[in-house]
């Protein structure tokens, strides 16, 4: 599809506000992206959106690159660029300003308390995120087993490169699905 100016402007206008309301990361706005891409602007079908979502999740890099993929699907490379800037720039500026402000208090008791207080929440959120992904197929024990095994090896032998773990894990997973089930 040729990238006409109107489409590019629409892309920017859809994704720039999403950037600022994506509180809590990408997952917060995926539903709205789907709504905008499939229903409001009819850039793609539901099926195509689901495919792009799955791709962004398994491909290397942040899962939020889904936005870039939508831009590419709608208006080619220029679309990918426009969406990337619109979606990533505003939130990055906010994060930068917040970090600068937070650092101004460095050394005060409150700064230490906020940092220390946020830490256990960060840890809980990491586990919650892992659980949410694994719980998609609740009855399926293979992803659970593989994830826990990878975690155990990672903690037991930190020197092993994570890519090796992911590669071997993916192979074991594929073989188990193809030949065991």
């Amino acid at each position: 599809m040729p990238a006409d100016e109107k489409t590019l402007v629409t892309l920017a206008l859809v994704f720039a506000p999403l950037s600022l309301v994506s509180v809590g990361g990408g997952p917060a706005v995926i539903a709205e992206m789907q709504h905008q891409a499939v229903i409001v602007n009819q850039w793609m079908t539901q099926r195509e959106f689901a495919d792009l979502f799955a791709l962004a999740r398994v491909a290397p890099g942040p899962g939020t690159l889904l936005a870039t993929l939508i831009g590419f699907a709608v208006a080619g490379w220029l679309g990918a660029l426009v969406v990337s800037v619109a979606f990533f720039l505003p939130s990055t500026l906010v994060a930068y300003a917040a970090a600068s402000m937070f650092n101004r208090w460095r050394g005060s008791a409150w700064h230490a308390a906020i940092a220390a207080g946020l830490s256990p929440i960060a840890v809980g959120l990491v586990f919650a995120g892992a659980f949410a992904i694994l719980a998609i197929d609740r009855g399926d024990l293979l992803p659970w087993g593989l994830a826990l095994a990878v975690a155990a090896v990672r903690l037991w032998r930190p020197a092993v490169h994570p890519l090796l773990l992911v590669g071997v894990g993916a192979m074991i997973f594929t073989c188990a699905r193809l030949f065991v089930a």
Binding site: A28, A54, A95, A113, A116, G117, V123, A130, G169, F173
Partner: protein, 246 residues
């Protein structure tokens, strides 16, 4: 070797130890010299030891090797465990802050870490590194995917990689969780601080992960409690020093 070289390294080491930051002892003398000549930063814990190009490449590498997502687990391994560019305590606090701010957590994390190391230019280099390479890769992936969408094994490999990478995330959770609990216990003899930290971790996990409460309001309720507890039972003044060993 000119005499100032050895001296500058000693000074640099002492500075690093005093600030309690982790210091990579393998860092070369020329890096030290580079660090001295670059712009001093007012508020960061460690002397800048990375160039902008290096920062860009490092984050590109991080973004592109994180198959199956979970870039933050990769950042933890590279930035904290291997390169000691940022202290464990600082990384965990930044992770918490970045989770609750708008924007993708890892992009925010790149902003904060890049800023910490090299200011605004560093933040730009880190964010571009994290996004440019992986964007090209994800588009290439989409093109390849169209070709192989029919091959069943292709889906299975991707699904397997995603499950395995959740394992990396769990491992990071255990590792930073242990650090948070240990740091709290070290600070004062009582068990109050680590107990509070464990309770907040468990509450966050159960409410958001298992009970599926919406994240933002839940965190907004838990954060004041957790910060209040941290204020009541503060970590030791030299709490950051525990990073030097890790």
């Amino acid at each position: 070797m000119p005499p100032w070289r050895g001296r500058s390294k000693t000074l640099h080491l002492r500075y690093a130890v005093r600030r309690g930051c982790a210091f990579d002892r393998k860092r070369s003398v020329s890096d030290t010299r580079k660090a001295r000549s670059s712009v001093p930063r007012a508020d960061a814990g460690a002397p800048p030891a990375v160039g902008l190009a290096q920062l860009f490449l490092l984050f590109s590498q991080l973004g592109m090797s994180s198959f199956g997502g979970n870039v933050s687990a990769w950042m933890h391994r590279e930035l904290v465990q291997r390169r000691h560019l940022i202290g464990e305590t600082e990384f965990i606090a930044a992770l918490g802050l970045c989770r609750i701010m708008p924007g993708a957590t890892v992009v925010n994390l790149a902003t904060v870490v890049g800023r910490q190391l090299r200011g605004a230019a560093g933040a730009t280099a880190a964010v571009l590194g994290l996004l440019v390479g992986p964007s090209l890769l994800v588009v290439a992936f989409a093109l390849v995917y169209r070709r192989f969408a029919e091959v069943a094994a292709f889906h299975l490999v991707l699904e397997g990689a995603a499950s395995a990478s959740v394992g990396l995330m769990i491992a990071m959770g255990v590792s930073i969780g242990a650090h948070v609990v240990r740091g709290g216990r070290q600070a004062n003899r009582s068990l109050a601080a680590p107990a509070a930290a464990l309770a907040v971790m468990a509450a966050t996990f159960v409410l958001i992960g298992v009970a599926r409460f919406p994240m933002v309001p839940t965190v907004l309720c838990l954060a004041p409690v957790s910060i209040g507890a941290a204020y009541l039972w503060p970590a030791s003044r030299r709490g950051e020093a525990s990073d030097a060993g890790g």
